[in-house]
Amino acid sequence: MNHFTFSWGSNYIAVRGLLRALGHELATPPRIGPAIAERGTELAHPFLCFSGKLVLGQLAAQLERGDRRLAFMSSLGPEACRCADTSDYLRSLFADCDGFTAHRIGGGGFGDALSNLRSHFGFRVRRRDCFRAYAVFFGKVDLLHKVDKRCTALRCLSSTPERVRELEREALDLVDRSAGPFALWRTSRWFDREAAGLPLRPEPPSLRIGVVGGEHILSELDSIMAVVKGVAERGILLDWRSGFRLLARTSEERLAPLKEKCRPYLHSAPSTSEIFSCAHATDFIDEGYDGILHVYAFGCMPQTALKPVLQRVAQDASVPLLSLSIGDRFAEEGLENRLEAFIDLLEARKSKGATK
């Protein structure tokens, strides 16, 4: 029986790695389209957000084709994340579907993760299996972030952007096929070597845009982030920074200076991703970047809450900011429209010498 997961808030490559490490396989999800959106809208509570409706529509389609075992990663941090454990709700929503199980397989710590995995797979999951599966999952997520961010910048910096696209594809494929921590380490080394060997363009980028957020927008081949990445091939540097490393829990010592930097803006108890995004935005401003691009998954509560914060950061420094909510396969036209206008704006400012 196939296991399956959501296409939103999860990453197939990483989740597939986790399941394979435990000897299971992940079903390929159905395509999201108008029929799935309609189905989700029928099923969902009217107040549920659109992305939530898409998830439910996709889930219903997967149940209709016979998949029964839903396993999903979700956050359990201090932030107001909507994708926290919804398994009880899902089980009640699909209570009449024989054999349906839904479990959150992420955890707030090792004990929690082991307990969640055992709920899903049964008590045969050993501690060392759990440790290995999560090492693979987090290793893949971290490596995907590295590939994503490095290739985004290289699309501008390299004189062979088509080779960068190829490298990105090869890297994602290799990450998908890397079965354990050692294989991932080798893939990471291979990627570093290949990326370092790419020829660079002699001329500097025409614009430098700092990208923050996007921790939950993980690499998928030709995902909607490709629209954003495509901007880099116009000679514009997209420097996408993220200190959000899942493998290594962020220490308080590391967070303290970042929190201090963000203190004028982040007043409440912010999540790690908010602290990093805000700190990176201030870094980009200090380093004289032409603009800040804030990308976040549609409906991501912590990043939505961060939007007005970044607006204040940017306004105080008179640096243009564009916040882009990245939906799932929808509204590419609107995304292109805003990006194009943002770049026009930055170019006009630069040509007038208004950039700091």
């Binding site: 389209g33 030709d222 429209n337 206008a341 026009d344 006009a348 400012r349």
Partner: protein, 333 residues
Amino acid sequence: MKRRVWIGIDVGSITSKVVAIDERERMLASTYERTRGRVVESVKDSLRKAVGALVGHAVAGCGTTGSARKLVGALVDADVVKNEITAHARACLSLHPDARTILEIGGEDSKIIILRDGVPVDFAMNTVCAAGTGAFLDQLATRLGVPVERLGDLAAASTRDVAIAGRCTVFAESDIIFKQQTGHRIEDIVAGACRSLVRNYLNDVGKGKAIEPPVLFLGGVAANRGIEAAFEEALGVPVTVPEHYNVMGAFGAALVAKETVVSATKMRSLDEIRSSDFRAETFTCPHCPNACEIVRFVESGSPVATLGGRCERWTAEATRASVPVHGTESTPT
């Protein structure tokens, strides 16, 4: 010798606008018409009216803007395809160089552009909701059984404040029904709806933006004096509706074309456009789980351009012209 003109075409969700400008950036002709879902026919018709009537002129360049800018760009072989934010900013800075804020409300989208010292420095567009757009007014007019063009006059005749929930068109409609049932005058309901649209706009699109005078108000909705008055009341500053408020996007596209096209235009002749059987078709690419929605433009039975794929699979198929994107000038042929 024929005098040169530059054409700007702005096709949005509801209306099509065409403008022709001369060497001195004066507007020689303009049209503003409802598209009624027939983009190709509407553009052909508007071009015939605006450009066909100009005797002794030769087209030197063409720019397109609006949500259908790529489709129209492929239809006419435009020299430049530009987003509507840049086009509106360019037009306003030409006619009102001291403007500091542009409010624009169209059929299904709305935007704000902040200008400082003749340069756009910030902008925002509405997100996933059309509550603060012309669609809201269309729905209101239908509900009240009055032509949408009369809403401004009705709002001006209001004598009492009536609060309408404007956060969402669905809630607004039920609120309007309730207000009708409880005996409020149509004039007061319309004025209340105008205020709620403005409130929604300022809380969504305008949130956190440094709105400073001079403020210009553009787009089809600017014809509604009730909205203009509601903006003035909410902002506490005068709001100016410029003379060409409803064709500023097309005007901006023409200006951008004039600045960009340095050699011969590649725009097709009006006869070619008129006789073209150009059409758009849409299909879902079956080759990977992305399921990209591909828009293919077909003419004389052959694909001439494609849009929408995240890889290069369908681009090579187009034979006549690729759609110029991101406002770059295509190489003249």
